[in-house]
């Protein structure tokens, strides 16, 4: 219990200190030490909690009553904050959504219907995994942010330096995420859920430009709408089912009764994980400085949504809620990967790929078999590490070269080799054959066929092709070798390097230890989630092949490297139809003048462009969600009558 409480409370304390830390080197000291303390605490926490069979803490007592009151006060404060800001910026709908949600929850709390004897905190293996992701990725992003923000404000003198606001918000976010994954009580989860919504809103609006404010309000209203679904689920389960905890809901004896709350919670999770039609808020979040994007995309926020879905997975298996979640997820996987082909802004590609990957995780959780949840948990881990790493790398590239456009990363391997290597590791970790994504995709595909869900299989088949295209395209751009390129001078700070290298290390370890992680971590986690003795997903012969492939991926480049060092090649120029100008970047035009050669990637905007497919796909997903929620309400009322 001690470590759990510490993990939740300490980030808030660090945030409080950071508000008053104006000096940058003092800030650096606070952020570094807090980050290290959080990581250490998370390790101790995992050592303690992981072997157990799930520990419940904090039954009903004076203490929890007091905490409930504090949370209520905090919720009212947040509501007031949202109302004030939405009036100030004339976005009244956001304020309205906040008032409705908070009023409903306050009523529930005050009327005493939310009272419970059950534990408020519950730590099992899934909690531990989430905590490790939040602690390590989250803290490293904060550490990265210290150096990054110095550069950021050097480059962007037009924005007011609000770092005394920025850093506390990062830590508040981490604290809220710890709270979210450790809480068992639905009210508590809701509280932390809303805190993450509002802190992401505040972080996105950091620069206070018109675009930032618009995008932050879009994030706010979408997440508040999801929050309303969450609140409705809580009220329904408290009043109709007398259930106040998430596990109580999932392990409820009669699946037909919990259909409504589960589907409402799934809806909330879809908004938070930026699934269609709510994907725009995550794209808009790009306007914020890079650490915010990295945090939103990897360790926090969107992971809260899929975390909830994984928790709900056993209850969604074979139900309407599961079908809705898996269809929306699979559809998002396909559409977002198509959209990712069409954009050249590196951050935007990453954003679409996040949405797409979350779609895959969502689809896996929605199907809800052990195999798919296995895939979902592994995907979640790989995605958290690689996405955080790539956002940071793109941020560093942008600070170094002044552009985050993929076209400008042409030949990055020559001009900024280390950053390029980090990008390559990230991309490889996301999709190359022996690594995580494909293995998980394989499990997902098999499970979808077994679940007789051919539509999902089609989403995966086409989505894999489009995913392959946008990653290969980017990888190819980075790996172009231009002779005599000048190295870019970049002042990537020590903290940034520390974070990037730690991420690269984690990524490689995840890949190398995949079979071990699967057997020692993910399979026991599944056994716990499904209340069974043991689960085994990876067949031994598949394991052998995986090991062979891993060996190949690491051995072949080394061998080839050794072989190449032997060959004595004189540098040659590429073929340009005989009009080279003596180097590899100019040719002679029809007037006999030297002309700069520019090789562009393909973006297929006429086929997969946002203008073309965004509206139809948003409409389709809205129809899916409305239809399934309507259907489940219909079944329920039919059952009652």
């Amino acid at each position: 219990m001690g470590f759990a409480a510490f993990l939740i409370l300490f980030p808030f304390l660090a945030a409080a200190v950071l508000i008053f830390t104006k000096n940058n080197s003092a800030r650096k000291a606070v952020v570094f030490s807090s980050g290290i303390i959080i990581m250490a605490a998370a390790v101790l926490f995992s050592v303690r909690e992981f072997p157990g069979s799930g520990n419940a803490y904090l039954g009903q007592s004076h203490l929890t009553h007091r905490i409930d009151n504090i949370m209520l006060a905090a919720e009212l404060f947040l509501m007031a904050l949202v109302v004030v800001l939405s009036v100030k910026h004339r976005k009244y709908y956001a304020g309205l959504l906040s008032v409705i949600g908070t009023a409903a929850m306050t009523w529930l709390e005050v009327s005493g219907r939310a009272a419970t004897d059950e534990a408020h905190i519950y730590c099992d293996k899934l909690t531990v995994i989430m905590c490790l992701i939040i602690a390590f990725i989250g803290s490293l992003i904060c550490i990265y942010a210290v150096g990054y923000m110095v550069d950021y404000h050097n480059h962007h003198t037009e924005y007011r330096d609000r770092r005394t606001f920025f850093f506390p918000m990062l830590f508040v976010f981490l604290g809220a995420m710890f709270g979210l994954v450790m809480s068992a009580n639905l009210n508590w989860i809701y509280f932390f859920w809303e805190v993450t919504s509002i802190s992401s809103f505040l972080l996105i609006g950091y620069t206070r430009t018109k675009k930032a404010i618009d995008n932050s309000f879009r994030a706010l209203w979408m997440n508040l709408l999801g929050g309303l679904g969450f609140a409705a689920a809580i009220i329904y389960s408290a009043i109709m089912l007398d259930v106040t905890t998430l596990s109580g809901l999932v392990n409820h004896g009669t699946p037909s009764l919990i259909l409504i709350p589960v589907i409402l919670l799934a809806f909330a999770a879809l908004t938070k994980s930026a699934q269609l039609p709510f994907s725009k808020w995550l794209l808009g979040a790009m306007v914020a400085p890079t650490p915010t994007s990295a945090l939103l995309h990897s360790a926090t926020m969107v992971k809260a949504g899929v975390y909830l879905l994984i928790r709900l997975a056993p209850a969604m298996h074979g139900e309407l809620s599961g079908t809705m979640t898996s269809l929306v997820g699979g559809f998002t996987f396909l559409i977002a990967s198509m959209l990712a082909i069409t954009v050249s802004d590196g951050k935007k590609v990453l954003a679409y790929s996040t949405i797409s990957n979350l779609g895959l995780i969502t689809a896996c959780a929605g199907v809800g078999t052990k195999e798919t949840v296995w895939a979902a948990v592994l995907l979640l881990m790989f995605h958290a590490v690689s996405k955080s790493m790539m956002f940071q790398a793109v941020g560093a590239i942008e600070n170094a070269t002044g552009s985050r456009n993929i076209e400008d990363m042409h030949g990055l391997i020559m001009s900024a080799p280390f950053l390029a290597f980090v990008m390559v590791i990230g991309i490889a970790g996301m999709f190359l054959a022996p690594f995580g994504m494909l293995i998980s995709k394989w499990a997902a595909l098999k499970a979808f066929i077994d679940a007789d869900n051919i539509v999902l299989v089609l989403f995966i088949a086409f989505g894999s092709a489009t995913t392959m295209l946008y990653w290969t395209k980017w990888l190819a751009k980075i790996l172009v070798c231009k002779a005599h390129s000048h190295k870019v001078y970049h002042r990537t700070a020590g903290g940034e390097w520390l974070s990037l290298l730690s991420h690269a290390f984690m990524m490689i370890m995840l890949c190398l230890l995949l079979p071990t992680i699967s057997i020692a971590v993910v399979e026991p986690l599944l056994a716990q989630l499904y209340n069974v003795k043991s689960v085994s997903v990876l067949a031994p012969e598949d394991l052998v092949i995986m090991v062979i492939m891993l060996v190949m991926v690491f051995v072949i480049p080394v061998v080839a490297r050794v072989l190449t060092s032997r060959i004595n090649t004189t540098p040659n120029l590429e073929y340009m139809g005989g009009v080279n100008q003596g180097d590899d970047r100019h040719f002679e035009d029809s007037f006999g003048n030297p002309k700069n050669m520019y090789l562009s990637g393909w973006y297929l905007e006429d086929y997969f462009g946002e203008k073309k497919i965004w509206l139809p796909s948003a409409a389709i997903s809205v129809v899916m969600i409305v239809a399934f929620i309507g259907l489940s309400v219909g079944t329920l009322s039919g059952g009652v009558i």
Binding site: W442, D452, A461, T472, K477, E574
Partner: protein, 294 residues
């Protein structure tokens, strides 16, 4: 286990010879269709021998690395296939191999090979869904009846005494369609061509010379033997007669590809993408939908 080892060794040793022979037959057939006599049957081997003896001119060392990765991953794909292991894994390794060829071409910063690489990516985008659906199709087809479905290639062959193509006619048509893309035959030879006098020079292989070019040539032989093996998988079953039948079907499929190659002109990439995806949906997906109902 012993069976798979034999399969792997046989493939790794003999596939280049079989592939080279097939390529020789291809050239002979093509010549006859065009009213020429054509080169000797063993001409592809002579060509490769000559290439090996030529000097290697590299733009950079990265090219060498990726070309080797391509060869090894292609051979690995076929080895996994002829070793009778998981077909889904085979598909994934094949994708990785194709990606290395793209990287080999783009790393040169050469306008013609980069153009070829871009077009190669369009080819991958076109055939990838159907290749995955082919694997899925086998899984669903083996799941009919008392057994669970399987991705294991030897089980796909031995599980029943009826050829899989009986259940998977649509998937077979879809596969034959994308086979044209994979074999780099006209009308879909858009990323590279055997003839160098055209707008994209030699496309994705423009910057490869001497021994490197020979290496890529040999890996295409490996690849073609694997691709035709996948055709055979549609026919093979536990009965003995399926083996000669499979050989005949492979020969027929190959003849068909050569015929198409010689009777059609290259199309633009967008037509290839659209048609391949439509064929995938119409034949592949609907076939699997119907199977799923049993």
């Amino acid at each position: 286990m012993v069976g798979s080892m034999i399969g792997i060794v046989l493939y790794l040793v003999f596939a280049p010879f079989v592939g080279g022979l097939i390529s020789g037959i291809d050239r002979k057939l093509t010549a006859r269709m065009q009213g020429r006599i054509g080169p000797p049957l063993l001409q592809p081997f002579y060509d490769v021998r000559k290439l090996i003896n030529k000097e290697i001119l590299l733009i950079n060392n990265m090219q060498f690395l990726f070309a080797w990765c391509f060869v090894i991953f292609i051979a690995f794909t076929g080895a996994l296939f002829y070793g009778g292991v998981n077909i889904l894994l085979v598909v994934f390794v094949l994708t990785t191999a194709a990606m290395f060829l793209v990287l080999e071409a783009t790393t040169t910063n050469s306008p013609f090979s980069v153009m070829g690489a871009n077009r190669e990516m369009m080819q991958m985008l076109s055939y990838e869904p159907m290749v995955l659906l082919t694997a899925v199709g086998f899984y669903v087809a083996t799941g009919i009846g008392p057994h669970d479905g399987t991705f294991n290639i030897s089980e796909i062959i031995t599980h029943s005494d009826i050829p899989n193509v009986v259940y998977l006619p649509g998937v077979f048509i879809g596969y034959l369609y994308i086979l044209t893309i994979k074999l780099r035959k006209s009308p879909f030879d858009i990323s590279m061509s055997h003839h160098a006098h055209q707008e994209m020079v030699k496309g994705i292989t423009t910057e490869l010379t001497g021994g490197m070019m020979a290496l890529i040539e040999i890996s295409h032989w490996y690849e073609n033997v694997f691709l035709l093996g996948l055709v055979a998988l549609f026919i093979l079953c536990s009965k003995w007669w399926s083996i000669p039948l499979a050989l005949i079907v492979c020969a027929a499929a190959f003849f068909l590809e050569v015929l198409i190659d010689n009777t059609s002109a290259r199309v633009k990439w967008d037509l290839m993408l659209k048609s391949a995806w439509i064929i995938t949906l119409v034949f592949g997906a609907i076939n699997i939908f119907i199977l799923q109902m049993f």
